[in-house]
Symmetry: C2
DNA sequence: ACTGAAACCGGTTTGAC
DNA sequence: GTCAAACCGGTTTCAGT
């Protein structure tokens, strides 16, 4: 699974455009890339089938939705065993405040990206959903001043990835 | 700026549906929500104008694009002054390996989410783009075992956010 | 906020290379 | 096998109400 797909310049151009605005029409895509609309359609369908394209998502502004404060919580779960981390992950990832959850190497096992209404809401969240859990050994909270989503995700420039050992 | 917008149940229903699949047609939206398609169009246009909806984005699988390893880099930038952090942010956020960048409170000033081809690529990135920079005082690298995007981002349930400014 | 009509688009078919 | 052109049914969009 997860084999890297061979992508030609047309595929890359299409992906770049769709990452800016996933509702770009096939006609616009075609005009921009310099191929026929049906070709764009074929390419996108292939990219969907091959799993490169996971889906189309709406990006919302948390602040405009009344969640003006975001934070990252580093969490130690001890003991770090499947019986404990399964329910923990399931609970945390379904909290309305959670935006993303990472399972990491290093001393802190999880990083949780949350969006809350303010510091009072954040305090409540930390106390009621994290430190109150028996398996949570430590929580470290860092506020997010500012965040940037980075440029389009593209394959590495050369074929350096596969030197098959 | 970033005032919280008054959203009625129709808006919320539409947002929830579009977060699952931002290409849902206005017709489907209308059928699901129980209003006319043109009403959905009006609502979405308003949400776009008011800034709640930032855009429509394609979600890609980094692994299928040859970037099978992801990591979080915690970075200290010293001295932490505008003249230093401006160029640093600009450089890091435009790296093809960068997926997201956070400016944080706490001892580590920045967190960078990167996607690379493998450990060799990660080592190169850390050495060439981070520790080689004069203003970077410390870099801590943690690998991502697994990550989850969390449920739809919605406004907090009650009117606790706005107690009139 | 709904209706309806016209412009537009997605996706299939067909045909050329 | 891949791309381009034609085509149809569905979608978006904009009047008017």
């Amino acid at each position: 699974m997860a084999d890297s797909i061979a992508l030609d310049p047309v595929d890359l151009h299409i992906l770049r455009l769709l990452q800016n605005d996933s509702r770009t029409t096939y006609r616009e895509l075609a005009a921009e890339v310099g191929v026929a609309p049906s070709t764009c359609l074929d390419r996108v369908a292939r990219l969907r089938r091959s799993g490169v394209i996971l889906g189309h998502q709406l990006r919302l502004d948390p602040a405009r939705l009344g969640r003006g404060l975001e934070a990252l919580l580093s969490v130690q779960v001890r003991p770090h065993r499947r019986e404990l981390i399964g329910p923990f992950v399931e609970r945390i990832r379904t909290l309305p405040e959670s935006r993303a959850l990472f399972h990491l190497t290093g001393p802190d096992d999880y990083l949780v990206h949350v969006a809350v209404t303010g510091t009072a809401d954040l305090q409540r969240l930390v106390l009621d959903e994290f430190t109150s859990r028996r398996e949570v050994a430590r929580v470290e909270t860092r506020l997010i001043f500012q965040q940037w989503e980075c440029g389009p995700l593209l394959p590495p420039p050369a074929e350096s990835a596969e030197s098959g050992h």
